[in-house]
């Protein structure tokens, strides 16, 4: 006699982990209000839970100083009762989001006024992947996991290595990373993430209709996506940026020891201090001779 959940498990049950950008520096200068954005996202999350009885939704808030889980549909810590004015999902999520925003604000220190600090996308992606690994460990019957990044802040170049590590780990575990980017210019990190992991990158042209874009492009589970005509990637910029000027280059020089990228020929690598063109033992003996002479 099979247990009840295994009888209902089909291949279109999904686990959706959403990383929600709550960076206050971005939202305060953006033309679309966070409350309108959040109401459309909450309706979308409710619709995911309605599509299948066994679907799961997890929301991680990406702040500018910290990241944290704010909602888990399969957790038993959710309040079952509501105060009657809104569904249980809304009240749980908003309650946790308020707590998170207050804590995040306390951690703010002064930043350079010219730049808008970026959100900690690498932290949110790492937490999402750990949660998905836990879902894989649960047994042979598990939902198909995927990650959706609702993001608007610009890319922080200091997070490049961490985001790439997360992307490769997602690719290795076959977890697609979808991105719905609402900022002004396209985000190179999210485009690369979606390209490498096999997800969808989409920048909605009109934010008033965000719910429509979310439910037509991002709501379908992985199994049914092959039957749909989804937005194609327009072109991913894979060019690297050089370490000395931070400009994108299409031809450059790479240090063979530490793989740093330079746009012009140097004598010494600024990252690992290896001298180019000479065997390392010659360099060491030249230094020690200099030291002995002085």
């Amino acid at each position: 006699m099979a247990s009840a959940p295994s009888k209902h498990y089909t291949d279109d049950i999904s686990l959706l982990v959403v990383t929600l950008d709550t960076n206050p520096f971005f939202w305060s200068t953006f033309s679309f209000h966070f409350s309108d954005f959040l109401s459309q996202v909450l309706a979308f999350l409710n619709s995911i839970l309605l599509l299948g009885q066994l679907n799961q939704v997890v929301v991680i808030a990406t702040g500018c100083n910290s990241c944290s889980y704010i909602y888990d549909s399969s957790s038993d810590r959710n309040h079952a009762s509501t105060n009657g004015t809104m569904p249980a999902l809304y009240s749980n999520l908003l309650h946790n989001l308020d707590e998170f925003a207050a804590k995040d604000q306390q951690l703010t220190t002064d930043h350079k006024p010219a730049t808008v600090p970026s959100s900690l996308l690498s932290g949110a992606l790492s937490m999402a992947l750990c949660y998905i690994q836990r879902a894989f460990r649960a047994g042979p019957m598990h939902p198909q996991p995927r990650i959706l990044c609702l993001h608007g802040s610009t890319d922080g170049p200091e997070q490049y290595v961490a985001i790439m590590n997360a992307i490769f780990s997602a690719q290795h575990s076959s977890v697609p990373v979808d991105s719905c980017y609402i900022g002004s210019n396209n985000s190179a990190f999210l485009q690369q993430a979606s390209y490498i992991t096999g997800g969808i990158y989409y920048r909605p042209p009109q934010l008033e209709g965000l719910f429509q874009y979310l439910s037509t492009v991002f709501a379908t589970d992985l199994h049914s996506r092959e039957y749909l005509r989804l937005p194609k990637s327009l072109g991913v910029d894979f060019r690297a940026s050089c370490f000395c000027h931070k400009q994108t280059i299409d031809m450059g020089y790479v240090c063979s020891v530490c793989l740093s990228i330079f746009c012009e020929h140097h004598d010494k690598c600024s990252t690992c201090s290896s001298v180019f063109g000479q065997a390392q033992s010659d360099v060491a003996s030249a230094d020690s001779r200099k030291r002995k002479a002085s």
């Binding site: 006699m1 932290g123 490769f168 060019r239 690297a240 031809m251």
Partner: protein, 422 residues
């Protein structure tokens, strides 16, 4: 000699040292099961099917031991790794490789594991090259040249799996030595020999060949499938490689996959150099061009060489027209975690978790799993020394082996340590 009743037959007291502790009158085979009753730990799940024995505790303990051993070796020094590797895999196709002690035969196991090793190798070392050499009938042949695409090597290997004759270690080393002399000076030269025979049929003095390889700075490692041989051990000791002998199929798989991450590099072995590389853009969908790898017209996605503007189909590759190495920035980024490893997490014993001064939350920071077992007793967990967040053991394994990011350090802006200048 005893009978079942336990009385010595010939009354000799000196024979008693062979029969230890059989006062309870059990046969020797019964004694083996007094402690180990493995059938009693089997369980059934709700549908009546047998549940496999829980090996997670053993797995965790093994993992923690391995991590402690690695940490004590590496200490805190940033050990340089050889990231641009030129590796030759020498496969022994002598008569000994058709033995059936590995199921279905040693040759089949070797072929399957070499295939998965090549894929894993290019995954972890995208800038490196691999070549295949086989040895049989006393000679060594070069099966494929040093190349960067896994499919061509795998296809060539699967076509040539007949075993015969004797293996020749010296001929293989001579062939590899002459081929590896032609590679650029910034590359690290390595050989991995998969040896099933117990003898070698050499035309000259193998000690001279070993000294030649040592002088050319070639790092030779051997994985034996039969038994330990002195000459293999000597070769590995002289050149700085590792020698191991596989006990069974899964042990062989573990041993061969240990060679995929880059080994610690000895700085004098390769000169540092600036390599000119191109970062092509992906062509727009709908553009038509003749690609240089297949020499036919193709539409859609492909890459344009920035120097000579021809189309190539996949990366990483070398442009066939102008010789420029073409890669994309994710390929370089795949190797960054070797250069910026994360620190091993520190164990927290269950007893210190109840200590209120340490402020433990009892849920794993990564996956939100409760760290209390049934009965609200804290289980073994780990914490990151930098951000002090608590993680469960499964997240610990995942973070160190696959993710290479600590979620705690990445999620708190002001505890981030500077890892790169980008």
């Amino acid at each position: 000699m005893n009978n079942i009743a336990g009385r010595p037959l010939n009354g000799d007291v000196e024979d008693d040292d062979e029969d230890e502790a059989n006062d309870d009158g059990l046969e020797a085979w019964e004694r083996a099961y007094t402690e180990d009753r493995s059938w009693e730990s089997l369980q059934e799940d709700e549908s009546g099917l047998l549940r496999p024995i829980d090996t997670t505790a053993v797995h965790h303990a093994q993992y923690r031991r391995r991590l402690r051993a690695l940490a004590s070796n590496a200490a805190t020094a940033r050990i340089q790794k050889g990231l641009i590797r030129y590796l030759y895999i020498v496969v022994d196709l002598s008569k000994a490789a058709s033995e059936r002690d590995f199921r279905p035969s040693r040759m089949a196991v070797i072929a399957k594991q070499v295939e998965s090793f090549i894929r894993e190798f290019f995954d972890q070392n995208p800038l490196s090259h691999v070549g295949l050499v086989t040895t049989k009938d006393g000679v060594a042949n070069c099966l494929t040249d040093l190349g960067g695409s896994p499919e061509s090597h795998i296809k060539a290997l699967m076509g040539k799996l007949e075993c015969s004759g004797d293996a020749s270690l010296q001929n293989a080393l001579e062939l590899v030595h002459s081929n590896l002399n032609q590679i650029p000076s910034y590359g690290h030269r390595e050989v991995l020999i998969l040896y099933s025979a117990l003898s070698t049929c050499d035309p000259g003095d193998i000690m001279e060949t070993i000294q030649k390889c040592k002088k050319s700075k070639i790092r030779c490692s051997v994985i034996g499938l039969a038994a330990e041989m002195f000459i293999c051990k000597h070769l590995c000791q002289e050149t700085g490689g590792t020698y191991s002998v596989a006990l069974d199929e899964s042990h062989f798989k573990e041993l061969i996959l240990e060679h995929s991450p880059p080994p610690p590099a000895i700085a004098e072995y390769a000169t540092a150099n600036l390599i000119k590389m191109g970062f092509p853009q992906r062509a727009a969908e709908g553009s038509v061009a003749i690609c240089t790898c297949h020499e036919e017209a193709k539409t859609g996605g492909g890459y344009t060489c920035p120097r000579c503007k021809v189309r190539v189909c996949e990366l990483p590759t070398e442009c066939r027209i102008c010789g420029l190495t073409l890669i994309s920035s994710p390929h370089l980024a795949r190797s960054y975690h070797h250069l910026f490893p994360i620190v091993p997490f520190a164990e927290i014993s269950p007893s210190s978790q109840n200590d209120p001064s340490h402020n433990f939350t009892n849920t794993c920071f990564g996956c939100q799993q409760s760290l209390l077992s049934q009965g609200n007793k804290p289980e073994l967990s780990v914490s990151c020394p930098k951000c002090k967040q608590q993680f469960c053991l499964d997240c610990d394994i995942y973070i160190h082996e696959s993710l290479h990011n600590c979620p705690g350090c990445e999620s708190f802006r002001h505890s981030k340590s500077v890892t790169s200048s980008q």
